[in-house]
């Protein structure tokens, strides 16, 4: 039982340890973050000024597609799974994940899936070029041959997600230490429990829709072909039935992270714990009945437009509960502003901006104007970058001392925060304006009318990219050495993970702790 880490590479290939696997997930996600970031910078470089300067339009389309796919499936999702692997067993007082070997399988599928996906860039006909939402018939009738590999990559990364989620649910439901009742679990555990449920519910639907594509492409079926009685709009319905819960899959664990960090640095317990749990569950439920708000302009019956509009607006209620709870937690707290706290406060402010533009988009009649413009791009980057990415960064700074046993360089952390914060706002805020002025998504060349906003966005994008190099440097530096961290690490920290030494021993809680 008390076996330590193995020597050499076999440790990583054959491991069953949740901490090893968590680290691999996090490093893999970091690598994908840089890959997707390079794709983004190609896009921004081309859009620096009107006209075609750097890449062909066809390649530009491959860049927008691959940027989205790599960031969603390669960077954000594995990062949260990595955090779950590292933290959930420690937070609930379990010796490891419930099914340790399957845990390693879930991880090792990913490098293969993304190697296959990335290799499409070098295939004849190029990489997928139909946008990360891969609408039929662009992704079927008019797709490059590499779409087949895209489909299979999605299949196996879906299998990875399902196995990972099953593991997380089994761990949370079955492995809690005595006394760790459901309503005593840290909110990060709660949000992941609900996220895992969402993943198991919708990843099979994604598998279904890519299977329909595969059959239409290679076996002559008519799912998305009106000539045979099918319908391209069917694709959009099935895709977004997956896609909308998917965007909450990328944000619910972020809520959990921020709900852990803000109480620590405000030195107050989280305000409204149980309302946070219920709000998370409500958001998850609502995510299943709002998917068609992505399709207001597709020609739905009026009743559909209205129903999906109101259901979407309802989401603002539980989300508002959360935002007010975070703010109230900080209210009259004894606050300090270490790097994780800075990222978390930025999360609350900027994610709220993304939420507000989401409310604007939720209004069906107004959405007819915004649809497929840069306003939408601004909206979802405001929820994903300061939402998902900032919370992941905050989590890395927050738990890095626990993982490595060393304190990170606080000054460099703050420099990274401000560079990222300013860079991201310079990048994405102008997109609201270019979008409202009518600039469509996914175009390599554009009307000079939007030139100023685009130039500003491109400058910001490179600044944001540079900030991530600082993060990489800071993480590597912290792993290699630094001021020794105590077990509690933070003055106001609270929870089982802070009761074990820093760095956390290879095996923690082989006998479950008693939780009072």
């Amino acid at each position: 039982m008390a076996h330590g880490p193995a020597k050499g590479l076999s440790r990583w290939f054959y491991t069953t340890n949740h901490k090893d696997i968590g680290s691999m997930y996090l490093w893999f996600s970091f690598a994908m973050f840089f890959l997707g970031g390079i794709f983004a910078l190609v896009i921004r470089a081309e859009l620096f000024q009107p006209g075609l300067q750097i890449v062909e339009p066809g390649f530009f389309n491959q860049m927008t597609t691959m940027h989205g796919l790599v960031m969603v499936f390669g960077a954000v999702m594995p990062a949260f799974v990595g955090l779950a692997n590292w933290m959930i067993p420690m937070m609930v007082g379990a010796p490891d994940m419930a099914l340790p070997r399957m845990n390693n399988w879930s991880f090792w599928i990913l490098p293969f899936a993304f190697a296959m996906l990335a290799s499409t860039l070098f295939m004849e006909g190029g990489a997928p070029n139909f946008g990360w939402t891969f609408y039929a018939p662009l992704s079927t009738t008019y797709a490059p041959a590499s779409v087949t590999f895209f489909i299979f990559a999605v299949h196996i990364m879906g299998a990875s997600s399902i196995m990972g989620s099953i593991n997380i649910i089994a761990t949370i439901l079955n492995m809690r230490a005595p006394g760790m009742t459901l309503m005593k679990m840290p909110l990060f555990v709660w949000t992941w429990l609900i996220t895992a449920y969402l993943l198991i519910a919708v990843m099979p639907v994604l598998a279904g829709v890519v299977t329909m594509m595969l059959m239409d492409i290679h076996f002559g079926t008519s799912f998305f072909d009106a000539a045979g009685g099918g319908d391209p709009v069917l694709f959009q319905h099935v895709f977004w039935f997956f896609g909308h819960p998917e965007v909450y899959i990328m944000i619910l664990p972020a809520f959990g992270v921020v709900s852990a960090i803000i109480p620590t640095f405000a030195r107050k317990p989280l305000f409204g714990y149980s309302s946070m749990v219920y709000a998370t569950a409500s958001i998850a439920f609502l995510s299943f009945i709002v998917w068609a708000h992505h399709m207001f302009t597709v020609g739905m019956p009026l009743l559909g437009e209205v129903a999906f509009m109101y259901a979407t607006m309802l989401i603002a209620v539980p989300t508002g509960v959360k935002v007010f709870n975070w703010v109230t937690t900080m209210w009259r707290g004894s606050m300090t502003f270490e790097t994780p706290m800075l990222f978390s406060i930025a999360f609350v402010v900027l994610f709220t901006i993304g939420g507000f533009s989401g409310l604007m988009l939720a209004m069906a009649p107004a959405d007819f104007q915004y649809h497929d413009t840069y306003f939408v791009v601004a909206h979802f980057h405001y929820v994903l970058v300061p939402g998902a990415i900032f919370s992941i960064t905050a989590a890395v700074y927050y738990w890095l001392p626990k993982w490595t046993g060393h304190m990170y360089d606080e000054t460099m952390g703050k420099v990274q925060f401000w560079t990222a914060f300013i860079g991201l706002n310079i990048t994405f805020f102008p997109m609201h304006f270019s979008g409202l002025a009518g600039m469509p998504r996914r175009i390599p060349d554009y009307n000079p009318l939007w030139a100023d906003w685009n130039m500003i966005s491109s400058v910001g994008a490179f600044m944001f990219g540079a900030a991530q190099l600082l993060l990489l440097y800071n993480v590597v530096k912290t792993i290699r050495g630094g001021k020794k961290a105590t077990a509690e690490v933070w003055e106001g920290s609270h929870g089982l993970e802070w009761t074990v030494a820093s760095p956390a021993p290879y095996h923690t809680f082989t006998t479950p702790p008693e939780v009072k």
Partner: protein, 310 residues
């Protein structure tokens, strides 16, 4: 047997996951290459890579399950670990439910939204030559618009309900009987095991063996139905959305029945040749039987929505 304070068994290093990943990658990479070679009319090594990958995957999974069975026999699996397996199987079946939901949802949408839309108003008159929506869809929009020059033709005949009076000559009815019976037999097997009756005419092995036989009969009848559809009914995957939904739904169900039959067969072989399973330790069998009940429920839904209401 019963320990007071059991520790949760965390296996040491394992080579299984990495090899399973390599195998899974080779399987889909080979299959992708093979499909692209077929579409481009080229020769290539896709199919070979697929076969190698699939064989490796089968081998790794065989080893994996053997090791888990072996650990259980050695008493390493605590009651808590066994509950993890129960949760795991339960949520896996839920994911399968959602996979089928996507296809049932597609069937619903095509019948109730897409086709009526294609068959009315300017969409029908201006685009599709006065196409009339009908289910089963025998005349595709393409045929209505382009007649003999169409690219997508409907089937000549369909599999729909011939009226209750004619059910005795209707294969899907017999398939339904076979599969529902098998759900009962697998339940009787479970009951027999719980009563410690493994051998004999009404024992676990006999009931489980009968279930496997029923599964195989179902599959044979299904192949028969497909052959009949392709050879005598002009009903193929390529005959518009009726053929598409019919074969995709029944086909994926058939694949799951194949999986389920194989799982039950393995449990039967374990019981007969190795004497595995006792009344308090039979999760391999129980998990397979849950899976079996699940494919049975899917079939009932298929029978209602694809055949009777078809």
């Amino acid at each position: 047997m019963e320990h007071q304070h059991e520790t949760y068994y965390v296996p040491e290093q394992s080579k299984l996951p990495i090899f399973a990943s390599i195998a899974l990658f080779l399987t889909v990479f080979g299959l992708g290459n093979y499909l692209n070679e077929l579409s481009a009319d080229k020769d290539g090594s896709g199919f070979t890579i697929f076969l190698v990958g699939f064989a490796l995957l089968a081998f790794v999974l065989f080893k994996w399950f053997s090791i888990v069975v072996d650990e259980n026999m050695r008493g390493l699996n605590s009651a808590q670990l066994k509950r993890s397996f129960v949760w795991g199987m339960g949520w896996f079946i839920f994911s399968e439910v959602m996979f089928f939901s996507a296809f049932f949802g597609a069937l619903w949408y095509l019948r109730n939204m897409s086709l009526p839309h294609l068959g009315t108003g300017p969409t029908s008159e201006l685009l599709w030559g006065g196409f009339q929506a009908d289910w089963p869809l025998m005349v595709t929009p393409d045929m209505a618009a382009n007649g003999e020059g169409a690219g997508v033709f409907g089937p000549e005949k369909n599999m729909s309900n011939p009226g209750v009076g004619n059910w005795t000559g209707w294969l899907p009815f017999w398939n339904t009987l076979v599969l529902i019976t098998s759900s009962f037999t697998v339940h009787f097997a479970h009951t027999a095991l719980k009563n410690n009756k493994k051998g004999g005419l009404f024992g676990f092995n006999a009931w489980l063996g009968l279930t496997v036989v029923l599964g195989i009969i179902f599959l044979i009848l299904q192949v028969e139905e497909y052959l009949h559809a392709y050879q005598h009914m002009g009903l193929t995957l390529e005959t518009g959305v009726y053929g598409t939904t019919f074969f995709m739904l029944t086909g994926f169900h058939g694949l799951h029945v194949t999986m389920g039959t194989f799982m039950l067969l393995v449990q039967w072989l374990r019981s007969v040749t190795k004497g595995h399973f006792s009344h308090h330790d039979c999760f391999g069998f129980e998990a397979s039987s849950w899976y079996w009940h699940f494919v049975d429920v899917v079939w009932v839904a298929l029978f209602i929505f694809v055949y009777i209401m078809g």
